[in-house]
Amino acid sequence: MNCLEASFSKDLGSFSLRISFELGEEIAALFGPSGAGKSLTLKILAGLDRPKEGRIVLNGRVLYDSASSVFVKACQRRIGLVFQELALFPHMTALENVAYGLKGPNKWKIARQWLDRVKLEGLYDRMPNQLSGGQRQRVALARALAPKPDLLLLDEPFSALDGPMRRALRRELKKLSLESQTPTIYVTHDIEDVCSLASRVFLIRDGKTLASIDVDKLWDPHAQESIWHSLGWGTLIHGKIEEDGGSLYFKWDKGRLKVSCSRHLIGEASVFIHPNHVKLLYPDVPVDPELEANVIEGKIIEKIEINGSVRLYIKGSGIEWHAEYPGDSYLMLEIKEGQNVLFSIAPSKISLLTPCFNSVS
């Protein structure tokens, strides 16, 4: 049964948003490149922005309907939202932040229980600036979940976290969301976040929902092709993971990349490489040790400048690589189409897609 049915549009000058999706009692990812309209979608769902037309129904309750001029205010929607910058109230303690949306005589007890659930026992009286990034993230999560919302929205919840912290919080979010039976939608542009947490993924590009895919089917090469083609941005390679001289490599017919992953993953796999993680190298400058293992030579087949960023299509090792960087980077390389370049991807930045990914992350 669907909890949420949303279909709306909004025009913002040259950008137009046309969103349509349905969500059951599940965790879904809103996945797409930067500027696709993901955060705006969350704000419209939460009632912080008003669409031009459409209809949003949550658990049978009409939150927005342009035809009958219904617009339920954000404060009455019972939708929890965790902002990308977290938006913790800086003049309140962790406990006061969590208790903010609670009412009644038990509000402090409930707030303490929530902080305990997110493993912040004893940090009740800390101010937000006395907490680490991961702890702040947990407070924000507890604050959004404490009033028992009908829907939880998270805007890039893991973007500020790295490595183990990111994985730990993903596990906690999944646990909390399932335990509290709160349908959850989170925004990400990281395929690893999608695979390890969501059961459904909504693909968004240029303000439009392109597809709704069951995450279990992400391993299916056809689904992967569909994602890749839908997004049209990012490098997806099919191959296998092998061990060579104590290190693990992802190999395909015309090349290989050193990867950092568990030996459990040896076997058939695919990798997805975000365009921001493809780093160009200066020929006469020593290579960063992290990038040393994966140096590839390629030829620039297309260069596009968009909104202060540069997008490159590079042909190398039988693959078309997509790279993106700020317009003021790599000026010394004087990048132009047809030019040969050296580039690399840090092993830690290579996202692995394998059939057993869900069980190991």
Binding site: G47, C75, R78, G80, A87, Y100
Partner: protein, 213 residues
């Protein structure tokens, strides 16, 4: 001098709450709302700073003397006029401080409070006001000192009547004119001490504001 000091303190006791209420209300409207004619209100609010006090006083005198209720109540050249006069040159300082305080509050904090079930009024009391409190208090300290030191506007609409409308700045003026420098210097020293104290308060509040943010 004592009677002038008492009049000045009474003026301050009336003006400080008015500065706070009117300054916060107009500062919030200018910082948080969009409406037709906002630019005009913006200019009108800041105009008293751009005008010489004598011009501002003259405009007030002309306007107030044409309002029947004010004329009949004989407000002009009485204590109520002495209490009202300093508000005009000091309100822009208060409004600008409140406005910049409210504008500096991250919009996302208010949006977060909204998703947690708070109405706009509650958001103001729980989020916006506490987070801009230090700017508002600093603005209030400066505006209060401007009100305490007002000379031109008070002289124009309240006159310089000892025991009724003669505030400390007017007392200094009268004593200098009468070549009585000792009393003028004591009053000036008193105002200087109060001025330095208010600036120290402002500095301290600004320091805490930076620390908080």
């Amino acid at each position: 001098m004592i009677s002038s000091l008492i009049i000045s303190l009474k003026v301050l006791a009336i003006d400080v709450p008015l500065l706070l209420i009117i300054g916060v209300a107009l500062g919030w409207i200018l910082a948080k709302t969009e409406f037709k004619g906002k630019d005009l209100l913006d200019v009108l609010v800041i105009l008293p700073i751009a005008l010489p006090p004598s011009v501002l006083g003259l405009y007030l005198l002309m306007t107030l003397s044409h309002i029947p209720f004010i004329r009949e109540a004989e407000v002009l050249f009485s204590f109520p006029a002495a209490a009202l006069a300093p508000l005009f040159p000091s309100l822009p300082i208060m409004i600008q401080a409140a406005r910049s305080g409210f504008s500096s509050v991250d919009r996302q904090l208010e949006q977060a409070a909204r998703t947690l079930g708070d109405s706009e009024l509650k958001i103001f009391w729980r989020i916006t006001f506490p987070l801009s409190r230090l700017s508002i208090m600093a603005g209030l300290a400066l505006a209060s000192m401007r009100a305490l030191g007002d000379f031109g506007v008070t002289l124009m609409i309240a006159g310089n009547i000892p025991g009724r409308t003669q505030t400390l700045p007017l007392f200094i003026y009268s004593n200098v004119e009468a070549m009585n420098f000792l009393e003028a210097n004591i009053a000036a020293l008193l105002l200087t001490i109060l001025g330095i104290a208010s600036l120290l308060i402002v500095k301290k509040l600004e320091g805490r504001h930076i620390e908080l943010s």
